[in-house]
Symmetry: C2
């Protein structure tokens, strides 16, 4: 990541966290377990890329950074509730290096309510569902502050909320649902899905919220309530395509990345049977024997180190990795010309550095 972009994100993160911490809405987060569950992820160290894109997009179209802060907090909270519910759905135990909300609340139930076993597990999940619901609502109240605290035209704010709560959430949950369905489909049936299915899912799960961030920032910066404004649309398309490239790169790192940098074992995508464009392309180019090997190891939680290594080699050999790199490049190439619609500025430069990071990152 370029030094300038890193510095910008660090500075914005500080302002963002300060703004979230001073929110008076928090007095309604009761009882204590709910308060702890709602606030646990947001103060953990993170890159804050979505709020960053929102503020850069605001600057790109001539707005002060300051007036975009509430909306930046909104998109961070919106992202957060999707993580909390997603972690329940995937039954994950770690998020940002610490326990997930449902695990935290399982422990809280044991500690404070003397719950045991599956009752504590149920309690943890129940509180996490409700905590995500509150974060969702908190996100909407932050958007409202764009008008009530920053003086932005209320029609702009209403259009942004409407977009978030219809188009963005609908497509996000579409992506999440397809991901759930893919995850529950036997690895042997991986070829039921096409490359387009996978990319559609990545678009919904990640592209759409990056697109929303750019759109909201753009509308606030330009002071327009026109959701179809050509510059706003250009920024939205730019960010959406970068989001897809980011997820493709994520799948590549899941096979080729550095375990220490990523904080997860490299074989895990293979053992979990994750259905990626890498897998689909490799299967397409495999002979019968290679195909059998891949399908036998994929989704096998107890697969040995040797077998996982063999499959990794096949992903290289059968063009799965190269093909996915090319796809990611394609989406960045689709993104870049969009930004020509916007005049040169330090914010445009930052957005271009961000696009570069989204595909060249190693963590």
């Amino acid at each position: 990541m370029s030094a300038k972009l890193m510095e910008f994100l660090k500075e914005k993160e500080q302002q963002l966290v300060e703004y979230m911490k001073s929110s008076e809405v928090q007095k309604y987060f009761r009882p204590k377990h709910i308060h702890d569950a709602v606030t646990s992820y947001i103060y953990r160290s993170a890159k804050r890329l979505r709020p960053g894109v929102l503020i850069m997009s605001c600057g790109c179209l001539g707005g002060e950074e300051r007036i975009a802060i509430p909306a930046a907090a909104a998109v961070e909270l919106f992202h957060t509730w999707t993580l909390v519910h997603d972690d329940i759905i995937d039954n994950d135990s770690l998020r940002r290096g610490k326990p997930t909300v449902h695990r935290l609340m399982e422990s809280a139930g044991k500690r404070d309510l003397n719950l045991e076993g599956s009752l504590a597990e149920d309690y943890g999940r129940n509180i996490a569902i409700l905590a995500g619901d509150i974060q969702h609502a908190w996100s909407v109240t932050f958007l409202i502050e764009t008008t009530t605290k920053m003086g932005v035209d209320p029609y702009i704010t209403l259009e942004i909320i409407k977009y978030m709560e219809s188009y963005a959430i609908g497509n996000l949950i579409y992506g999440e649902t397809v991901d759930v369905q893919m995850g529950m489909t036997d690895s042997k049936d991986t070829e039921k899905f096409s490359q387009d299915d996978v990319i559609d899912m990545l678009w919904g799960k990640t592209g759409v919220l990056y697109g929303f961030s750019a759109l909201a920032g753009g509308m606030i910066g330009k002071g327009t309530s026109d959701i179809n404004d050509p510059q706003v649309t250009a920024l939205k398309d730019f960010a959406t395509n970068c989001g897809i490239a980011f997820q493709l790169q994520d799948d590549i790192l899941g096979i080729t990345g550095d375990e220490k940098l990523l904080g997860k074992p490299i074989g895990s995508d293979i053992r979990e049977g994750k259905k990626t464009t890498i897998v689909l392309e490799s299967l397409k180019n495999a002979n019968e024997e290679q195909k059998n090997l891949i399908l036998n190891v994929l989704g096998n939680k107890d697969a040995g180190e040797d077998d996982v290594e063999k499959v990794k080699s096949l992903f290289h050999e059968l063009n799965g990795i190269e093909h996915t790199k090319m796809l990611a490049q394609k989406y960045i190439q689709k993104a870049l010309p969009k930004i020509d619609a916007v005049e040169d500025s330090k914010y445009k430069e930052l957005l271009l550095s961000w696009a570069d990071f989204m595909i060249n990152r190693n963590l």
Copy 2:
């Protein structure tokens, strides 16, 4: 229920359902399982009391019924997502006489995705979590239509959304969480909780959303963005207190009601160990022997018909039922004078009939 009120609610229900059915937002409910899950409860027959209160409150302060319809749809959807998530939390199988969303989706997973056993159960729960999330968002988009479709001042709409997404949801989830914690506390420890704890929980789970319905309708009807307007506040307090009385009456019907009318076995509150003001008052007045009997049967899923009958008799004998009737009456008496702040009209009459129904209903 008075004939006039019944007729009013029937007519509004029709308009409400028509309005919801014509919502263009539904195109974002994808894939099919999500669409089915999101729309399953809302078209089942129901009393629609919250939207009714909202529209009557709008009329009370001089607004046309028509302009309150989008907000009425919003409060219905808001109520609905809390039911969907609540049903997951309570692991209930029936809602409005048909399967709950997570059960419906468990069946859909078996039928369409060949899932089996606990995998199908997980799938049902996961889709239900996401469906509730979309309903929450749909509710917000309906509120926005108060301005974009009915021409209401955008500052009024923003204040209403803010109230729903901070005060109302915060207190609702507070009530829900306390309910979860009470439910997971051993029946033997029922006396850990006070009557105030129970009423606080009922206020959060039910009173607050009725209060919100009246507040939103009042603001739209009067055309004010002042959340503290005295007439709006009066309507809000009126409806909140009626909501508490409704829940107290619900607990009474759970012991004394007609199984056929209620559609649930009368002993179930006792076998589930529900912690009500009936139980608390009875325990307070019980001698050691009576107390032991009650605490032994309470929360015992396998309790025999005889024991349940004995506990029911004790609830009468030890003043639990009478005391709770008196409490419900107290909240209605607290509610009624509030409405003096509002001029006489057919809507005021309807609200008074509604208050009467809330406490004198037998189903």
